[in-house]
Point group: C2
Chain length 730, copies 2
Amino acid sequence: MIDWKITERGFYPEKIAFNGNKFLIANGYMGVRGTLEEFTKDQLVAVNMAGLYDQVGNGWRESVNAPNGFFTYLIVDEEICRLPECEPSEHSVSLDYRNGIFSRKTTWKTPRGSLTVESERFVSLAQPHLALMKYKISSNFHADIELITGIDADVWDINGPHYSNMELFEEDGLIKAIGTTSEKGHKICVTENCSINLPSEKRLSIKDKKILRHFCFILRPEHDCVIEKWISVCTSNDTENYEQKAASLINDYMKSGYKYVKNSHIEKWEERWKVSEVFIEGHKEAMEALNYSIYHLISVAPRHSKSLSIPARGLSGQVYKGAVFWDTEMFMLDFFLYTDPQVARTLIKYRIDTLDGAIRKARYYGYDGAFYAWESQETGDDACSDYNVVDVFTKRPVRTYFKDKQIHISSAIVRGIMRYIEITGDKTILDEGGAETIIECAKFYYSLLLKRLNRNVYELHDVVGPDEYHERVNNNGYTNRMAKYTFDMAVEVLSSVKNLEPETAKRLKNKYKVSQLIKSFTDASKHIYIPQPDKNGIIEQFDGYMKLEDASLEEVRSRLLDEKEYWGGANGVASHTRIIKQADVVTWLAMFPDDFPHEILLANWRYYEPRTEHGSSLSACMYGLLACRCGMPEKALPFFMKSARADLEGTGKEWAGLIYIGGTHPAAAGGAYMTAVNGFGGIYFEEEKLKAKPQLPPNWQKLRFNIYYKGKLHRVEVDQKGGVSVTREP
Amino acid sequence: MIDWKITERGFYPEKIAFNGNKFLIANGYMGVRGTLEEFTKDQLVAVNMAGLYDQVGNGWRESVNAPNGFFTYLIVDEEICRLPECEPSEHSVSLDYRNGIFSRKTTWKTPRGSLTVESERFVSLAQPHLALMKYKISSNFHADIELITGIDADVWDINGPHYSNMELFEEDGLIKAIGTTSEKGHKICVTENCSINLPSEKRLSIKDKKILRHFCFILRPEHDCVIEKWISVCTSNDTENYEQKAASLINDYMKSGYKYVKNSHIEKWEERWKVSEVFIEGHKEAMEALNYSIYHLISVAPRHSKSLSIPARGLSGQVYKGAVFWDTEMFMLDFFLYTDPQVARTLIKYRIDTLDGAIRKARYYGYDGAFYAWESQETGDDACSDYNVVDVFTKRPVRTYFKDKQIHISSAIVRGIMRYIEITGDKTILDEGGAETIIECAKFYYSLLLKRLNRNVYELHDVVGPDEYHERVNNNGYTNRMAKYTFDMAVEVLSSVKNLEPETAKRLKNKYKVSQLIKSFTDASKHIYIPQPDKNGIIEQFDGYMKLEDASLEEVRSRLLDEKEYWGGANGVASHTRIIKQADVVTWLAMFPDDFPHEILLANWRYYEPRTEHGSSLSACMYGLLACRCGMPEKALPFFMKSARADLEGTGKEWAGLIYIGGTHPAAAGGAYMTAVNGFGGIYFEEEKLKAKPQLPPNWQKLRFNIYYKGKLHRVEVDQKGGVSVTREP
């Protein structure tokens, strides 16, 4: 069995940013980076809020970080004793990812003796507004201690400062930080109380955007000091009475005690693991990495809302603007569909509820229907900038086309909805706006179709496919195939209008010329150009790809003049070669393995793999999945491991040009899960039944997991020899 | 009257490159840069050959420079006496542009006295293979002279060396350099003889790719030394017996004597001026600049061929690969139509004869019909590279889209043919392939037309218009308008097949489904999207132009980090602003002033002028022409002057990124002529008659010029008050 704990010993300042991600704790409502209590914004501390955004001036609109209620440090014998300034004699941080608990232990040698701090903290999975910390100090000498703890409202921002106002005050023993965001005037209220087990001299300070309690006492070897910090975070988005609610949460839960709250939190985690844990017999490292990935997915799942999604960097900060990408529908959704369908519904509902934003975006560009945001925030308007990369040579922003040309995004939403219906059987999502969403996405693609006067095919021009290094291409295979899929799904929905709720049927008939749309979309699906394999079985990624220079990955890498240089765009080292950022044709084939015979899948896997830089964490799992489809689990394994270990190893890119892009990678985590369950597990659905054609990598003796299908939990066990056992709950 | 001579006094090394252009002499067959006899490739000496190209390895294919038969320098008292090393006490160079004669006069002070060299040279307008130089040395002391003269075959190349072999030898008193080009094995044979008026000790040397005569003598104050050099250039393209021809040319003409050959040359110039000279009463500077421009046009006109065109940089060197651009048809053609229709026919015939290359280019990109080369050489295949600019920051070549997206080129050819017919009345050009050329160009645009399924207009996407700073745009107004024009012209030709020669009619009927093409092109012309003026009367240059940042020219210029930086392309300072390189909408309106009422023309002139960088020498004349159409001759005047003085002042760009683009600007010269004659002169053709609605700038009392129309010379005189006199030759 695995030990459910990752620990890092020793203190390495250069790892502060990465460990902030690796040791993240979160509960879907907020994420707290794996930084130390004494850290400030200089060390990228963040209490990142889900679904709450702000824009300052012309800066990027991005998610908001709450004031940090964990902030705590020590003055020992009148010397400040904290990292990173004060070198420790011993230091470790750990994450208990079975229970979502972060801990640290640090010992400092002072001139008079040694002193140890041990802390643990968690953000409650049972009560999303609540976060607790226990902080223990012990020493082998009579230490003169000033313990400083409170709320640090001087938050880390990438494009801030996001608070136009910050109130810091004490009331009824609670200290509070209430920030007002600059754009929309959201209120973020952080409230804290703190107990201490020793008599001490107490005072309060408010200075430098911090409200702090000061406890002064003599610490004796025979009696450790323990404080418990109770932190609640509420916002005006949650309730009008955010301040009152934040206060009563603390007052109420404090009565139950630290242990009770911690146990409730752990119980919730156990509930999740009971369904979500994946057992891999024969490959401990794989099982650890996969369940660590699952930990991240559970952590960032929005359970407190009926309509919210997961940002591409989870709740690890403001990178990528805290925005939601296709990552959710294409890479994370399967995990939630299989293990927590309510969360899957919440993710899908978010897209339905932001349809208006997608319609506005389409109108802006002169198209019909719904063009979903490449980077979606609370309204569905696009948070993506026209300039997403900074040129390392000129320091100028570079025009990129993610926002306006990556049209495949809308099809990912359609796929999400249809996949939700396929796995859960719950068609009410169509009644709740899912039908319109699909139809508007189809209308969007329809309005983009171009027909040459002398050809009887419909084309999609000037797009960016999954491989973002090649911008503004025509007839990207993946995009065209997904557009075709969208037309097909719209036809399916429109053709079965009569099977929907009468209300829905009526609404749709009033809104759309149903039979005309069916005719148009059927025609579009029939005539849209889908690139076909050439004589070697290779599908050209886009028109003209095969005319590009066929330089090797090493050759292209060797052309870099600066390691932070962006590979793509108009003039990147990869742009005019066949080197691609991430799975593109392979993503198509992994999504639609029945489009072509097995040998075509294989030929394309073999052709594109050496030409893929895997510059996106979304790439590896698609190669893993398709390798499984091609009957090569041994080839899939390294891609699976790469996905599963994305946040453990930090080998991903931290820079795009001069823009920091580090953070957690929940899509890689979801991709690892898909590779394990759909790929190695080989599960599929036929005649309303869950079935499996497993193909386990060498050494994987058994693979065991649970899947909700049509509302029923199925326990699946497959083995190396192809044995399959599916047990359905009664 | 003007004095027909430009002179520069003093020696400025930094002006060597520019003066090479300014003082160019040429006769359509070859161009000799305005460099000094003692200069070598280090000073960009070139004897540039028309229509002869070579490629070495993967370098750019470019025109070939012949060995330099003028090469001459002195050793005086055992000291080398030449520029730029040896500072002169007096120095001047002159160009007699009435007669196409370059001269120089230089005096050096030596320790023993002063010595003066005076030379003159010309490339014969009467005999295109012949070039002569007279070189006189005088001194005020008994100078010990070694005069070295011969052929310097160590030619200047941009992407050379172009000779895989070079033979240097003497035969029958002639010295010869016969080079073999590396790609196609063309032979370029330069033959020289030299007479000297003083007894001297003679010897020959062959060294460092030079074959040189050495004359040693004592020069006395009372007796100047004069040599006459006779140079002939013939190539295997001219005749199989190029060597024999080159030799006999020299032997024959030497018998006639220097004076006779010079007079024949001058007579030919007089013949040209008799028709071409433009008189401007009241603005001497304008008359000088315009006739200097006309000098350049006459110089580079291909009179020795029936099918040849003029490179964008004339015969001033290998810049722009010695290739032919739309410059010829759009900017130079009117001058030749009006003053030398045979040359106009030769230019047009070149395009007809390179139709196959245009068809190959269209096929390569997957289109139908004829996609003319952006940079055309002898076969019509495109010499333009995919990478035409070098990034100043990374030194990397930058992908540009001149070659593959500047589709308006084909329409320029169509305009050239139709304009030729309009002015000359000579429809035989249609029989000789002009008809097919027009039809194939229309087929090309037809195959590019895109129709959105839900719109009933045809669009042209992903193009580059005249404004090259904005690449890959949709529905560039100029391009769409010219495509419409092409459809119209094709319909005109196809509809009048029966009026053509029976042979032609039969050929066309065999080759094309005439009535179907008429139907298609009529439909295309009707439905192609032509942007219309907005509520302010402004026509959007391309889809989305008005969404770009409206920064001022000064603001955009101030963003340059390097003065050689390219403004356009994907990431140039202008690319994402409304700043344009050159007249674009204005070119459309100047070509088709009847498309819109006068106030729309004016509104667009006023809107685009301050947003135009005029980074191309093609820009000013279009603003000049349209200003005249708008009744603003006083606004047109500075643009006219800028065009006319392009090669006098050298204010044009010399760099595109890190690529040298200096040279002469015959299109600016042609544009100046068009502005004078079509603009200020206001001539137009109605009911088979030449008419004029002049509008002269202030101070221009009278404007007088000659125009061939329908084969007859018309003498036109217009005046400040709008008076018009047209006299037609009987």
